[in-house]
Amino acid sequence: MDALTVVDLVLAGVLTGLVYGLMALGLSVIFGVVRVVNFAHGEMMTIAMYVTAVLFGWLGLDPFFALLPVAVVFFGLGYALQRGLINPFITRPEHTQFMLLVAVAIILVNLLLMIFGPDAQHVQLDYLLEPVELGPLLLDRGKLAAAAVAAATAAGLFAFFRFTLTGKAIRACADNHLGALVVGLDVKRLYALTFGLGSACVAVAGCMMILLIDVTPTLGPAYTLLAFVIVIVGGLGSMPGALLGGVLIGVSEALAGLFIAPSAKSMFSFALLILVLLVRPQGLLGKSQ
């Protein structure tokens, strides 16, 4: 195995990992603030992938141009979902939250099956089949673009939470729920905003993911699980942790596939998860409780 192949594939792992990270970022943001684990996360990404595929198929809209409208629509849907359905469950036991969101996930999968059928759909852009040459390295143009979008979205989200008043208010809610209520913050609205932001993140991830993989209605559960693995490895509630977790999973899969067995590569994501749970249960960048 030559070094060039190794570098090539590790870079591909980093790029894929960044998109994984963006997907998991939405989950992490929602949990970090609202303290609800979104078990319908992968299904929401699957819907975003279908919406992007439909916009491409019907209107010829390039997924890079579909990003913004899809993200805005998902923000609205996330906001409405939180206000209308999830909010009453915030103070209820965790198992009822779990059942609620699993039920939402199952309904979404079946709706997708009813609307689109079981067939896989893909968006093939010929210009993305041409790799980017970086000296002797060949980088997948689609992955590179998707990773750039993921990095830009994550940076925008960090900036929002750090520099805007609303972002700071959301962080205040996350840090001290009672204190936020005492100082008069509209916590319910801020929770809904957070859920909307998390949904917009997963929508952007979906728009990019359709460039990398085919979508089927049953894709969701596997990606919900993957998002969990990533946020647990990176640290539940930590935004940089989600990105780091995504990159680590992407690279570990690439290396395991390269040096051990490609058919067993996903096993190494779970091995990494177990290792992190044993050595650092709060995740690599998570805060210990």
Partner: protein, 410 residues
């Protein structure tokens, strides 16, 4: 005062009751139609192939009625490309009254359904599934009109030799990539057993790479294969993974002399052309194929066109052909048995001898294990976005192209 029941009335009532009791047996012996449980993966990873096979099932009742004069009723079930689902759907079909099972385009699912068929003593005819062990277990109710992986690979490798002779190409190395499922493992064993004995083949396998049949991304696998610098890719795939793999080869600018399947699905399927367009060109599949000139094909082709006006049989040839033939075998057996009773139907299937068929090969006749011998393969190359027979020369529609244009020479 109520009616008086005298001896004559009592005897009449007794006769009536006896007739009513015996009627089901009489009706059973004179069935109106054969209920065939058709199990196919119409959704999931193999969904497109399952739907392709379904086209062969859907046209069968009409064609078989005109061919054999028998009525068959299809009871369709989706295995969802899942072995456990295949097992439960087979159970349910039997509970709902299926007299015989047909399907399921997958070795794993076929193994599971075979167990159910044996336990419930219901005949099961495999349309497509190649794992040899399915007909090596001494099953009494399981039959297969499709080559085993060993036969498939033997035929496929022989055609690779013919291809090299016809084109004058002498590739020295191959990288072998295969799906890691029951079928893939069976082909690995077959290639390991057969290839070393074929000294007329000039190449050796430098690396074997197994991958998940449900893989969404094959970047690493293709990168690893590319790094071997092998002259050509020997591929055992399904459909979805074949598309992903070919796309990834384009992205990584890997242009070996060619891609050759020694007997697996994927590269001759309609969806392969639709998804990849020009990138589907020149891929080669050595697979069992249909004969357009046969009398049965001439009955099937118009029926296919009628049911699928925008489609062409050649894009579904293997799937439609073997699914139709499986139904033809059970319809023929039913006609000869004159009953839907499982044992009689099983024996009638066992004694099948059909010389008129749609697919290339000898007659359909089951051996003691329930396996049809003598199914032949053809070398199919994608040319102008269509599957074209390029070998054997007697049936060739075009000349083989190897090495493929743009690839480096060996």
């Amino acid at each position: 005062m109520g009616p008086v029941v005298d001896r004559r009335r009592f005897n009449l009532a007794l006769a009536g009751a006896s007739a009513a009791t015996l009627a089901p047996a009489y009706v059973h012996a004179q069935p109106a139609r054969l209920k065939v449980g058709v199990l196919l993966p119409r959704s999931g990873v193999q969904g497109f192939i399952g739907q392709s096979c379904q086209k062969g099932a859907d046209l069968a009742p009409g064609v078989l009625k005109s061919m054999l004069g028998v009525d068959i009723e299809l009871m369709n079930a989706d295995t969802e490309t899942n072995v456990d689902t295949a097992r439960t759907r087979a159970e349910r079909l039997i509970q709902e009254g299926a007299h015989v099972l047909v399907g399921p385009f997958d070795s794993g699912a076929a193994s599971a359904i075979a167990q159910v068929a044996e336990q419930r003593a219901v005949p099961f005819l495999i349309n497509i599934a190649a794992a040899p062990q399915i007909t090596e277990q001494g099953y009494k109710f399981v039959f297969r009109n499709f080559p085993t992986a060993v036969d498939l690979i033997r035929n496929g490798l022989a055609l690779i030799g013919d291809l090299f002779r016809a084109t004058g190409a002498v590739p020295r190395t191959a990288v072998f990539m295969h799906v890691n499922d029951t079928f893939g493992q069976a082909t690995v064993k077959a290639i390991g057993a057969i290839l070393p004995k074929l000294d007329f083949l000039p190449f050796k396998i430098v690396e074997t790479i197994a991958y998940d049949p449900a893989a969404k991304d094959l970047t690493v696998e293709v990168g690893k294969a590319k790094s071997t610098n092998a002259d050509f890719l020997l591929l055992v795939s399904r459909l979805a993974d074949a598309i992903i793999l070919r796309r990834e080869m384009v992205k990584q600018r890997w242009e070996p002399m060619g891609i050759i399947s020694p007997g697996s699905p994927g590269m001759y399927e309609n969806q392969f052309y639709q998804a990849l367009g020009k990138y589907s060109e020149y891929c080669i599949s050595n697979v069992p194929w249909y004969d357009p000139a046969k009398a049965v094909t001439k009955l099937v082709e118009p029926a296919f066109k009628k049911q699928n006006p925008k489609d062409e049989l050649m894009f579904h040839a293997l799937n439609v052909g073997y699914t139709f033939e499986a139904l033809m075998v059970v319809a023929d057996a039913y006609k000869r048995a004159g009953t839907t009773e499982a044992k009689a139907l099983t024996e009638a299937i066992r004694s099948t001898e059909l010389t008129s068929r749609m697919m290339l090969g000898g007659r359909i006749k089951f051996d003691a294990k329930g396996q049809v011998q003598g199914n032949a393969s053809a070398c199919i190359q994608n040319l102008n976005l269509r599957p074209m027979v390029v070998l054997p020369q007697a049936a060739a529609q075009a000349k083989p192209v190897f090495p493929t244009p743009g690839s480096r020479k060996a």
